[in-house]
């Protein structure tokens, strides 16, 4: 649970008329039991099922609880008899933001089909990891795997022979620094730092000298149209304070070639004020 959930739980406990907990709950046990009973190949759809049940209990306004990758420990076990396979997969998972736990050989050394096992409550994380590594099987963890993976593991990736030829994603591209230039007739300046990790693109913009009355939108433009990063509030686009936007982007960023700052006033876009070319080196 992150700090906001913990504070919510404290406040719910402290409320004089607390009726039921407004806490997001872990995936219900019944679903896990169902999966265990099935004890065969359970596909990703299962995790979606668990996800739905979780949201249902979380109260009317709660969004589906997000998986905190930095707080989810992933153990990687090599069951394919290929040295370095687990290490490579762990590096790839680290790039996706997961916390890596034990990386070692699995109990079985001739597994053909890889799978992602989860400790109860971590089915959503497991299905995300399965998608990232293109592994089809998502299962509740067994005791013997848990012993090898260690007590801190939330998710255990067991690599079989089908992962040998996989190859993992290339290392992330270095961050790129851009300088905005003012569009004719506008004033103001700024810089942007773009960093692509896996499919997460982080953009940090620092803007100076823009109108303090208007809300500014920061966006990517290219052949497919525009992609949103976010809005910089009125009054905070003047002094070069950093604004960080992180977004999931399609694997191919190439069609987007311009980063723009657009002014919005009186409920309508009031023109592009700053632009910067996005070099192809940000694509990795």
């Amino acid at each position: 649970m992150n700090v906001f959930d913990r504070l919510e739980a404290q406040l719910a406990d402290a409320h004089p008329h607390r009726s039921r907990r407004a806490l997001p709950r872990p995936a219900p046990r019944t679903v896990v039991a169902f999966a265990a009973a099935l004890a065969a190949v359970v596909v990703v759809a299962f995790a979606a099922l668990a996800g739905d049940s979780t949201t249902e209990h979380a109260g009317p306004a709660a969004p589906a609880p997000a998986v905190d990758r930095a707080e989810t420990t992933v153990a990687v076990l090599n069951s394919a008899r290929t040295p370095g396979l687990a290490r490579d997969a762990a590096t790839a998972l680290q790039r996706f933001g997961w916390k890596i736990g034990t990386v070692t050989n699995g109990p079985d050394q001739s597994l053909t089909t890889s799978c992602v096992d989860f400790v109860p409550g971590h089915s959503q994380a497991a299905s995300t990891i399965a998608r990232q590594l293109r592994i089809r099987n998502v299962l509740p963890v067994t005791k013997d795997l848990q012993v090898v993976a260690g007590p801190d593991a939330d998710v255990v990736v067991v690599l079989g022979r089908d992962q040998i030829a996989r190859g993992y994603a290339p290392p992330p591209a270095p961050a790129v620094e851009l300088t905005f230039r003012a569009v004719h007739g506008s004033h103001g300046s700024g810089t942007a730092r773009l960093e692509l990790r896996g499919t997460r693109l982080t953009v940090v913009v620092r803007l100076r000298g823009l109108s303090d009355r208007a809300i500014h939108a920061v966006r990517l433009r290219g052949a497919p149209g525009v992609a949103l990063f976010g809005l910089v509030a009125a009054g905070s686009a003047q002094h070069g304070e950093p604004h960080t936007f992180t977004t999931n982007i399609p694997a191919n960023l190439k069609p987007y070639d311009t980063l723009e700052v657009v002014r919005a006033r009186h409920g309508r876009p009031d023109g592009v004020v700053l632009t910067a070319r996005v070099p192809s080196s940000v694509l990795g």
Binding site: H17, A217, T244
Partner: protein, 183 residues
């Protein structure tokens, strides 16, 4: 409480006197934008998290004093936050009175927690307090520059309704930002 996303802050705060879920809904709507405001003011995520906890605790203990006739719910919450900020600036320490009254322990903060609090200093978070329809309309109109007819068609709504969502959403954002300026 019914459909929470359509319920006004004022209605939630009035319901929250007897209903913990209404208070939780109010908390979820405002916690992150308020954390962002506190981070901008303090430049210290730890102090911001502490002030956030004390502000909501003070709001919870003071629910009976909230009077919708004297201002909207968000303004009331930010008023409490301003008060806490001023005390913190004067004394160099965050007040604990409301949390003590409620027997709330001080939250232990990990690096991940601090980063999560710091990440609230992001204007997209400011949109979180808006109803989803207004948020979607602002994205479509202001960021993607779609015209009102297209947005209306895509969202199965009418043009005047979309116009109203955009202008109400922007007005709400402006009001919140103005409150933040008036420290």
């Amino acid at each position: 409480v019914g459909n929470v996303s359509d319920t006004s802050d004022e209605a939630l705060l009035l319901a929250a006197r007897r209903d913990a879920d209404a208070f939780a809904a109010f908390y979820r709507r405002h916690a992150r934008p308020l954390a962002g405001f506190l981070v901008r003011r303090t430049r210290d995520p730890e102090a911001a998290a502490d002030l956030l906890a004390e502000t909501f605790a003070a709001a919870l203990t003071g629910l009976d004093r909230f009077d919708p006739a004297r201002g909207d719910g968000a303004a009331w919450l930010y008023g409490i936050a301003h008060h806490q900020l001023a005390r913190w600036q004067r004394r160099g320490a965050v007040e604990r009175r409301a949390r003590r009254r409620l027997h709330m322990e001080r939250l232990e903060l990990s690096d991940t927690d601090l980063r999560a609090v710091e990440a609230c200093d992001d204007a997209t978070v400011a949109l979180e307090g808006l109803p989803p329809d207004q948020r979607a309309a602002i994205h479509a109109r202001v960021v993607q520059e779609q015209d009102y007819a297209a947005i209306a068609a895509a969202s199965g709504s009418t043009e005047p309704a979309v116009r109203q969502r955009v202008s109400r959403g922007l007005a709400a954002l402006r009001a919140r930002l103005t409150r933040e300026e008036q420290a």
